[in-house]
Amino acid sequence: MSLDNDVIEKKVYETYAQIATESIMIRNVKEAANILEKNYKLIVNENIIRLVYASFLNGRPVLFEGPPGTGKTEIGEALLELWSGKKGFLLPCSENYDEYKVIGDFHPLMAMKIGFTEESFVPRVLLAAMILDVGVLVDEIRRSSDEFQNLLLDIIDKRRIVVPELKRVFKSKGSGFQVILTSNPEDVAQNELSDAFLRRVIRIKFDYPDMETEKKIIRIRSFDRPSISEELINLILKTINKLRKSDILHKPGTDESVSWVKLAQSIAKLENEDVVKVRHVKEAATSLLSKRQEDEELIASVISDVFSEY
């Protein structure tokens, strides 16, 4: 069936192709690591890229597991884009997702007028991704229901979507349609993933990066001006690492350390300073780090502890 006379494909191309913009396709691990650092400002271990690509070669979904703020979502999106050469789709999960919300449903008025036909069908993200041959990042899979997880597994396993109302089966055309799932096992308010689900995915664990890597990440992600000294970055990382080991509820991720530096830089810029000083860092700290009232005291004590000499 060519594009001209397939209504659904036409609809997909009209709407979703705007999001799935073309970029370069890179399937070499070393090159991908370089591009991720240069273009996406992401520092990703080659081992992770290799494992993700190897799973994609076998058509397996990958599950990124780790604490918040370790770059799971961003890295996932970037890898999907590099793999398929097109920007992937993001599917943030919620409890009430079902096939109508991710595959497609029928426009109620049109369906009443002309019945359940291809004209009244509105394709959604998952079907669009399969037709356009791009990747999908399913964010926070633990928030979804068991039924949705099973639906997803079936689609990924067989690489096809059945729409019984239309009596049609959509099959994936290339290897671009891949799925990365993210989840944070430490989050209490979420569902557990079943063993059956975990057995079908390739599980990759994310953790906070070591000091040197995190420093590198801060360097490439923060502004060039006003400049910040190595010593201050060390202090920031020391505080962050202390907090990660403490009992606070919301532990700071790499995300937070970068935002901290950026916020300090912005404050310095507003004061027309050329170099970030300790007071800028301190000023940025409390408002950025404490997300819950219970944690405030502990965070304040850690900060005053680390910055005691300044």
Binding site: V29, R60, P185, I202, I204
Partner: protein
């Protein structure tokens, strides 16, 4: 990390099945799908990097990513890999040490014993010995070194197999010589029952208790796994003649051959706690046999006194006739009705409900024909009728999805029912269930005198509500000159730790019902398995909700659970557990001792079949351990325990 530098496809193809098998033995669920996927991903790695092999770290990462479903399995995989690849070095070390012992010596095998003899057999297995007349000596040093340095993975297994086959052939007398070497315990499993019995005989004569217990354990295992028919009686005779036929062995033998129950003189109550699912056939046969043995009325009376009513469903029909036989049959039908009702609660399968109703009808029909006075053992007409009423109520509540009005059934069964109804209900119904559970438990605890109890007090003190009836009796009949007031005795708030590891699964309804007795007094609830989750300042309804929804899995880490009470906010802590610590952490008794020294009272509530050694260990360290048969009995004693 592993000792292999690089792993190519050939090695991977060879070892993935071995590793997968190893993991399966350790309890990790790995399917064929995963092992194929590991190899596929392996190939993709080679393709992506255009190489012929990958590093061992990468190999480990692939295995973990594909197979591990959580952090514990990750650890198990890491350990299995280390064993597999590191084990090689350990083994060559072992052999090296053995060869050093015998270097340049003429060896007289008959004079060796213990570790020396063990080393001798190890060298023999790798072909490191030659026979010179009566004596042995090690082979050429260079050759021996070469063998030791080149022990590879498969050779290691091969050598171990060879060693095993050598040891298997030894006579019991020769094997006993190995007593103080590592080989003695390692290879006991491969010996046959006859040899084991002979070894046990020897050990029991010499009073070597530690190895004897180990041998007994293996004999017990062999007896329960083995399907030799007709040999049980012979075995019974041999074991009892050498004096090692203790209660456990007897039990194992009776489970295999119920007809031995006559010889054993074991009480039927020993078998009340056998798990229904695992020992369905065995339990039925044992009960039938006991029932058969109780051929006169006195014995039958005794039998029916000892067996729990809920276990009666295992019998098919009464062994005696007449009025009493009819009564027994009615009770059997009632028990079957309850069993079906519970099955219905668990499975939601309508057929079970119909069966339960059918049995109830049968039981009631039989009861109608009987006189009120007929009774045998614990069974009588009125109680059986009452029992039937309760089953009917259970069925009704299951249909409506809310439990109300069932008050005289076992607490454990009640908790089980609540859990399954809760599981199948929507949110509104769940709220109702929590409220009705709360009511029921409060009633139970009140009835057993746990919460408010009346205490006699003199007139001048007015601590609570006046109790008119008691006061009148007191003044007129007892001729005392004071009024009686009711006073609420409050017990203090406690911390409760509940073991939710997989080993507790078989005690789950026991544990939950025991925990539910404390609902009024819990202000910190700690659920522990491999991890420990602590709920602080928790309310009654939340406790009930947790008890209704908690799942049993993971390893047991009692020490970690005790650590949750380090802050000394509670001076009484109740721990519900089977005491079997299955993770490598500090010994729980040490931690318990630490807490006791801080002035905290520890009360361990354990099921009645827990290992005595573990209990003594805790008791010696200052913790109080109480064996709890049923929660109702506990409720009665609770006030003493908590004051």
């Amino acid at each position: 990390m592993m000792s292999f530098q690089n792993i190519d496809l050939e090695i991977a193809e060879k070892y993935v099945p071995i590793i997968v098998n190893n993991l399966r033995n350790k309890g990790v669920k790995v399917g064929v799908r995963e092992s194929i996927l590991v190899l596929k991903i392996f190939e993709s790695y080679l393709l992506l990097d255009n190489k012929k092999s990958i590093s061992s770290d990468q190999f480990e990462k692939i295995l973990i990513s594909v197979i591990a479903k959580n952090d514990y399995e990750e650890e198990i995989i890491k350990k299995a890999l280390q064993e597999l690849f590191f084990g090689k070095e350990d083994y060559s070390n072992e052999i090296y040490l053995a060869s050093e012992r015998f270097k340049n010596k003429l060896i007289d095998k008959n004079k060796l014993s213990g570790q020396q003899l063990g080393d001798f057999y190890k060298l023999m297995a790798i072909g490191g010995l030659v026979k010179r007349g009566k004596y042995y000596r090690t082979i050429d040093k260079e050759k021996l070194d070469q063998i030791i340095n080149n022990i590879s993975l498969d050779q290691k297994t091969l050598f171990k197999e060879k060693l095993n086959s050598i040891l298997k052939k030894l006579s019991p007398e020769e094997y006993i010589k190995l007593l103080n070497s590592d080989l003695f315990y390692d290879n006991l499993n491969s010996l046959n029952l006859d040899k084991l019995i002979k070894i046990a005989e020897f050990l029991s004569k010499k009073h070597y208790n530690k190895p004897l217990n180990k041998v007994k354990e293996i004999i017990k295992e062999k007896i329960s796994n083995n399907n030799l028919k007709g040999e049980n009686e012979k075995l019974w005779k041999t074991l009892s003649s050498i004096g090692i036929l203790d209660k456990d062995l007897q039990k194992a033998l009776v489970i295999r051959e119920p007809s031995l129950s006559k010889k054993s003189k074991l009480d039927i109550s020993e078998f009340n706690n056998l798990n229904d699912n695992d020992f369905y056939n065995e339990k039925q046969r044992i009960l039938l046999n006991y029932a058969k043995l109780s051929d006169n009325e006195n014995l039958l009376n005794d039998f029916l006194n000892k067996i729990e009513l809920k276990n009666l469903w295992l019998l098919n029909k009464s062994p005696i006739g007449g009025e009493k036989g009819k009564l027994i049959n009615a009770a059997i039908y009632s028990s079957k009705a309850l069993k079906e009702a519970i099955e219905y609660a668990e499975s939601g399968y309508e057929g079970r409900k119909d069966m339960s109703n059918y049995y109830l009808q049968k039981s009631n029909e039989l009861l109608q024909e009987l006189d009120n006075k007929v009774s045998i053992g614990k069974i009588n007409k009125i109680e059986t009728k009452f029992f039937n009423n309760n089953v009917l109520k259970i069925l009704e509540s299951l249909e409506k999805g809310e439990i109300q009005g069932i008050k005289d059934i076992d607490l454990a069964i009640y908790v089980d029912l609540l859990r399954s109804i809760y599981h199948r209900s929507d949110d509104i119904k769940r709220r109702k269930i929590i409220i009705s559970a709360n009511k029921f438990l409060t009633h139970l605890i009140y009835m057993n005198g746990f919460k408010p109890i009346p205490i006699k007090k003199k007139y001048s003190v007015r601590p609570g509500r006046l109790m008119v009836k008691e006061s009148v009796i007191n003044i007129i009949r007892n001729k005392e000159d004071f009024l009686v007031y009711k006073r609420n005795v409050r017990t203090k708030q406690i911390g409760l730790a509940l073991d939710i590891s997989s080993s507790m699964y078989k005690y789950s309804s026991w544990a939950l019902s025991v925990a539910s007795i404390f609902i009024h007094n819990i202000s910190r609830l700690v659920l522990f398995s491999t991890k420990a989750i602590s709920y602080d300042k928790i309310r009654k309804n939340d406790v009930i909700k947790i008890l209704l929804t908690v799942d049993f899995n993971g390893y047991t880490d009692i020490t970690r659970a005790l650590e949750q009470f380090n802050d000394k906010k509670f001076n009484k802590i109740v721990i519900i557990t089977d005491l079997k610590q299955t993770v490598r952490n500090e010994d729980p008794s040490i931690k318990a001792n630490e807490l006791v020294r801080k002035g905290i009272k520890l009360l361990f509530l354990v099921p009645s079949d827990v290992d005595k050694e573990l209990i003594n260990k805790i008791r010696n360290n200052g913790g109080c351990v109480k064996l709890v048969n049923n929660p109702e009995q506990l409720a009665k004693e609770l006030i003493k325990l908590l004051r």
